[in-house]
Structures are given as C-alpha cells and as structure tokens.
Symmetry: C2
Subunit: 229 residues, 2 copies
DNA sequence: CGGTGTGAAAGTTTTCACAGCG
DNA sequence: CGCTGTGAAAACTTTCACACCG
C-alpha cells in the first residue's frame, strides 16, 4: 500500500475507554469484514451505524477514542479500518487459548470455526474424565487437568475458556489463574471470584433467554435492527 | 406462608427499566437460588452486592424499579425475593422454545441442563439435513424447517434460538418471525435485521474472546469479582 | 442498631451541531 | 459538496446520604 494517512499503532490504552465502546468495536469489525468480503472499499459512519443500529455520531465518537481513521468527504477505507480495529483489539496476531471441560458444550466449541476466523486457536482442551483424556477432538488434544500449568507455561497461554459444570467452575478458575492465565471466558452459570488483575467475560446461556423472557413479557416494543445483545 | 409484606404482581412494565438493570436482575436471581439452596434465609443488599461485585445502593435501586421487597433491619427473604424476581423476569412458568440448527453447537445446547433449571424447555429442533430430520436428540425431536410454522403455532412458541451458520441466520430469523416468534437468541456471528417489535439477544462466541484480548492487551488492571460480563 | 427506600448529587455515555477538510 | 472529528448539551446511570422502620 502506498499511502496510509491514519497512523495506527498508537492505541492509547491509557485514557479509560468505556467497555461499551469496546463491545461495539467488535461489532464494527465483524461488519467491516463482511463488507470487505463483499467488495466494498469505503464506508461512512452513517452507513456503518445504520447496519448495526447505531447513530453516525456514535460510530465516529467510538473510533475517536483510538485515533483518526477517516477521510472527510469520503468515509473510512474498509481495509485500513479493519487493520486498525484488529490492532486495537489485539487480534492481528494469533492467540493460543486453552479450554477446560470437554462435555457437550466443550466439544461443540472445539469444532467452532468462528474462533479461528478471529485469530483464536484452542491449542489444548482439559478434562478429568479418563475416557476423554488422551484423545483428540477436531485435531485438538484432550489432556488431564493436571497438565494445565505445564501447557499454559510452555505455550505462553494468556486466555482460557471454562466449560465445566457450575460446581467445578471456581476451582477450575483458580487453577487457570495459578497457571498464569490473564483472561477467562466463563460459560458456567456461577459467579466467579477472581483476583482483580484477571479479566473475566461471562456467558450464561439461560440468562440470555431470561432477558428475552422479560422483554417479551413486559412487551416493551422497542429494539429494531438492534445488535450486540 | 402466613405473612407476605412485599405485594408482588404489580410489575410496573410501564416506566422504562434500563436494560442493565434487567441484566443484573438475572444475576441476582442466580445468586439467590444458590444461597437458598445453601440454606440461607435472608440476605442484605450489601451481602448480595458484595457477592456480585456491585454496591449495596445499586442492588436496592435496581429492586426499587419493581417494588418494595425488603424488611428494614433484616434485608430480603431469599424465597420471597426469588419468587418476585421470577415474576418480573417471567420465568415462574415454563417457556417452550424452538431451536433452529442442529450442528455441533445446536446439539450441545439440546443437552444443556441450565435451560430447564430456569424454566425453558426446547420442545423441538429444526434442520434441513435429511440425516438429522426425523431423529431425536436428548429426547427432543428434530424436524424439517418447513414444519417450523406449524409447531410454533400449535405449541404457542414465543422464543427461538438460531444456531445455524452465519450465511443462513437471516433467512432463519425471517422464518421465525413469520411463524410468530417474538424473541430470538442469535448464536450466528452476523447482524440480524428484524422488525422493531421482535426482541433480540445476540451471543457471538468469538467476540467474547475478542473483548478479553483487548482487555488483556491494554492491561487495564481493573475488574474484580466482576460478574455478568 | 442494622438495614431498606429514595430524592438529590456526581459521574458517565450519547446525541447534537458545527468547524474544517479533501 | 459530503463526511469526519470534536467540543458542548442532553440524557441516562450510579453513588451518596439520610429519613424512616422494626
């Protein structure tokens, strides 16, 4: 590429960026990837906003937290913006990830293509069940949980997925933290208690339905193209 | 029970309740259920808040949106509050749910116990694949998508889960809406465009990891007992 | 006392509106 | 022109602080 106006790589990371902004960043990236794949070269904040159900101002403000990426009168170049978003989110390089718990859900996640698409690779799964340990699922080895610390250290793993039943989630979380993991996605329906330097994202499948139940019950006719859940 | 101070059943549903409040309601309920199972009779806003990483004031304000549930000097009675939360969220009765897409993830969700625990029952799954149609997974019948409208109507289904690849998610969403579903949980990594009266919750597994990637990269040492992610 | 319920204050996020630029 | 980037205003959420209750 010849020109590159918007100087990326300065990712502030100092001034406190609201969580909601980062959540939308992922949605912008997802949409941009689709647009680029569809052959679109540039996009305006208004177009991108409309696609996702946000205002043009919000799109610009969100991007403004991280730098200047647009061209007045033109909009944003998809390829540049994608690259910038990935730099900001940290997904321009591959993240090796570990997964603990190889039940129904765990096995399904081992086969999920979406992770690789965003540059995440599950390098090893862990369980206690002797009938599972030693095997391979979708090319991913299943090891005994006792080997977790070794693998995390050797492979320099920073992110982990907890996919065990609720009763064992806290103990698994403690093991991940002890092994040196810095961020956890928890699929178990329990509140985890973690040291403050560990990042946590929780996904409770029943709670997602519960939120719908409320919305549908108290028929608050709202929403629309509404994204991001 | 003899006495019941907090008069439930008035669920305002008129005054606009912030989404964030409803999200926390589900966390309160989850925690209360655990506490009750552990034999705890009452709990204060401060205790409940501490368990979830919120302030006592926030817990009280959140509950205040829906009525008065507490006893000054005592706190809240777990059993009463659980019942009230369920009334508010609409999960004191069973919700029949349909699921479209019986791939890896879909099959895993058909086996997920957590749904039933919060009163959701997947009554039927749907797919196009003739090798899957006609079968049963975990006691749940797998039918052809063409039968979706009939089942939704006969069983009075109001909620649906989309668990198909991104390319087919929009068409499936349209079918669910046409069949009369009012709320959708979308697991496909695409933005759905829906009529404004349809409620949508989206879960993008790769995005959850992306959010962690950002948090860990820009080491914003924050979080704590942090819940709900 | 110990704890709720709730106005008022503080803080945060979104929207507005417009200068400036290619 | 069309569209970005951004201060200032508006809207919303959280925290504070305290009256009141058993």
């Amino acid at each position: 590429m010849a020109e590159s106006h918007p100087q990326p790589g300065d990712v502030p990371s100092d001034s406190t960026v609201p969580k909601a902004v980062v959540a939308r960043l992922s949605l912008y990236l997802r949409e941009l990837q689709r647009l680029e794949a569809a052959g679109q070269q540039t996009i305006s904040s208004a177009q991108l906003g409309t696609l996702l159900g946000f205002s043009d101002a919000q799109v610009r403000k969100d991007l403004g937290f991280f730098g200047q990426f647009g061209y007045p009168g033109v909009g944003y170049r998809c390829d540049e913006l994608i690259r910038a978003m990935r730099d900001i989110l940290g997904t321009n390089h591959v993240w090796p990830v570990v997964m603990v718990g190889v039940g129904n859900l765990g096995q399904a996640l081992l086969g999920y293509r979406g992770f690789a698409r965003q540059n995440f690779r599950i390098v090893s799964a862990f369980d206690c069940d002797p009938t599972k340990v030693g095997g391979t699922i979708n090319g991913i080895p299943v090891r005994h949980v006792d080997q977790l610390p070794d693998v995390v250290r050797c492979e320099q793993i920073r992110l982990g997925l907890i996919v065990v039943p609720g009763e064992r989630a806290q103990e698994v979380a403690d093991k991940l933290v002890a092994a040196g993991v810095e961020g956890i996605v928890n699929f178990a329906p329990v509140t985890l208690s973690l040291p403050p330097h560990i990042q946590l994202v929780s996904v409770d499948l029943a709670i997602e339905l519960e939120q719908l139940s409320f919305a549908v019950t108290s028929k608050l006719h709202a929403a629309a193209v509404q994204p991001g859940g």
